[in-house]
């Protein structure tokens, strides 16, 4: 484990709240996808406190946070766990250190790109873009897509906002943001 002197997460709002963590593990025990994480939330907070920033920058944990907020409402120290996971993702995305073999960042990218282009999200378009990087995943969804189509639930024409350029502009205006995560 390599150590980095400067804390890349220092600008995150309420990061100091993890100093209140008593390592009880209620968050990890409440997490529906903890099994898929390399460090469940309790452990991840311990790593940040230890200064093991490189380990955290390359952790898959924030990418498996499903935003169920179960940890957040149960934390006895009122640490905003889910909000911190979002902020960690933002720092990791900006630093470009997300694990290479991880599917979720590609999914998020496809999702975000769809919004940037049309202002809205069309599931079939997100899957198509994501499928360029993960063809097997996309193919596996075809039988389900057919069932959806049969029930008139597959959108083949992408809805758009009236002026998609205005959404692209919103993306540009927030692109170089130095704002705190």
């Amino acid at each position: 484990m390599s150590q980095n002197d400067t804390n890349p997460f220092s600008t995150i709002a309420h990061l100091e709240s993890i100093n209140q963590c008593i390592q009880c593990g209620t968050c990890s025990g409440s997490c529906p996808l903890a099994d898929l994480m390399d460090h469940a939330p309790r452990e991840l907070f311990a790593l940040i406190r230890e200064g093991a920033y490189e380990e955290v920058l390359h952790s898959n944990t924030p990418w498996f946070c499903v935003s169920c907020y179960a940890c957040m409402v149960r934390c006895p120290r009122e640490i905003p766990v889910t909000d911190l996971m979002y902020a960690l993702k933002e720092v990791i995305t900006k630093q470009g250190t997300a694990p290479q073999n991880l599917k979720m960042p590609d999914m998020y990218q496809a999702f975000s790109r769809n919004i940037k282009d049309t202002g809205k999200v069309t599931e079939s378009l997100v899957m198509a873009r994501y499928g360029m990087k993960h063809p097997m995943d996309a193919l596996k969804n075809i039988p389900l897509a057919i069932k959806m189509q049969m029930r008139g639930r597959l959108e083949l024409k992408a809805p758009k906002v009236a002026d998609p350029k205005s959404i692209a502009r919103l993306f540009e205006l927030t692109e170089t943001s130095k704002d705190k995560p």
């Binding site: 709002a13 529906p32 996808l33 898929l36 924030p62 498996f64 499903v66 935003s67 169920c68 907020y69 179960a70 957040m72 409402v73 149960r74 889910t82 979002y86 993702k89 933002e90 995305t93 599917k103 979720m104 999914m107 998020y108 999702f111 975000s112 919004i115 202002g119 809205k120 999200v121 069309t122 599931e123 899957m127 994501y130 993960h134 995943d137 596996k140 969804n141 389900l144 069932k147 029930r151 008139g152 639930r153 597959l154 959108e155 809805p159 906002v161 009236a162 002026d163 205005s166 959404i167 502009r169 919103l170 993306f171 205006l173 927030t174 692109e175 943001s177 704002d179 705190k180 995560p181």
Partner: protein, 277 residues
């Protein structure tokens, strides 16, 4: 009653959420005013990419709601609900973020002065639906499924882990309600789409728990919850429970026909339980 409605991206292609919401609102004289030119709220993706961008995407609607002259914004999707609420909370707490968001919106020709109250469609129908006067559905047992993001993280509408408002609603409009412990257990949300095998167990646990407690139908309040619980049953040999929207059950209670409520769009058919004498 007039409400300002934010449908969100999944509403139109969901299994009859749109049809049933529109039919029920027509019947109850609720005027649904869709936010013109709404965009994606950013869902669970955008706050992990860029906080200002996520806030601005959500707040674009707050400016549009203001133009429409409404105080409240109503949505039927838990992810939209939680995302818009998160943006609203941040804008209220963080003056600097509020100003920056204002600047971004100003650049798009929009004006943001106030934050609307974000409400779920369930709250609206809880107020508007009349008590049941019929025994027609008294033998139809329903398990309420809330998903994660209605009562969490805010817990202002009801308890975070063990809410009861949907049970009370279903009971009041004439269904037999079965208590169970999976009401806010996570279905895997968007992760279930690409981590199918890993998330399959999450939906199965919910469906089995609801079936074991004697329910024949599940009532949901969110398009992604509905989709996950519905599609998980196709690849499973477990119990088969139609996964409906609470608006479809409300429509039945109001005497509307299943076809008007988009009930033919479910993957696991509800025909059998609904045509039962």
């Amino acid at each position: 009653m007039k409400i300002c409605f934010y449908p969100g991206c999944s509403f139109a292609t969901s299994a009859g959420y749109k049809e049933s919401t529109e039919a029920v609102c027509r019947k109850l004289n609720i005027e649904l005013n869709e936010i013109p030119d709404w965009n994606c709220c950013g869902a669970t993706v955008m706050f992990g990419e860029n906080k200002l961008r996520a806030t601005a995407l959500a707040a674009r609607h707050f400016a549009l709601v203001q133009t429409m002259g409404f105080e409240d914004l109503v949505t039927g999707c838990n992810a939209c609900y939680a995302t818009l609420r998160k943006a609203a909370r941040l804008l209220t707490e963080d003056q600097e973020l509020f100003q920056k968001t204002q600047e971004v919106l100003q650049n798009l020709g929009l004006k943001l002065d106030r934050i609307p109250k974000i409400r779920h469609l369930l709250e609206v129908l809880m107020e508007a639906m009349p008590d049941s006067t019929s025994d027609r559905y008294k033998t139809l047992s329903v398990g309420a499924y809330y998903g994660c993001q209605l009562t969490r993280p805010d817990q202002d509408l009801d308890k975070g882990d063990y809410p009861e408002i949907l049970e009370h609603f279903l009971d009041r409009i004439g269904f037999s309600v079965k208590e169970h412990s999976a009401r806010t257990q996570c279905c895997g949300a968007s992760h279930a789409v690409i981590y199918k095998n890993e998330c399959q167990g999450l939906s199965q646990r919910i469906i089995r728990e609801i079936a074991n407690k004697g329910a024949e139908v599940i009532a949901t309040i969110c398009p992604l919850c509905q989709f996950n619980l519905d599609q998980a049953q196709i690849q499973d040999n477990g119990p088969r429970l139609p996964v409906t929207y609470f608006t479809q059950l409300a429509g039945l209670a109001l005497g509307l026909a299943p076809a008007e409520l988009g009930l033919n769009k479910l993957l696991v058919s509800a025909d059998k339980v609904l045509t039962r004498p």
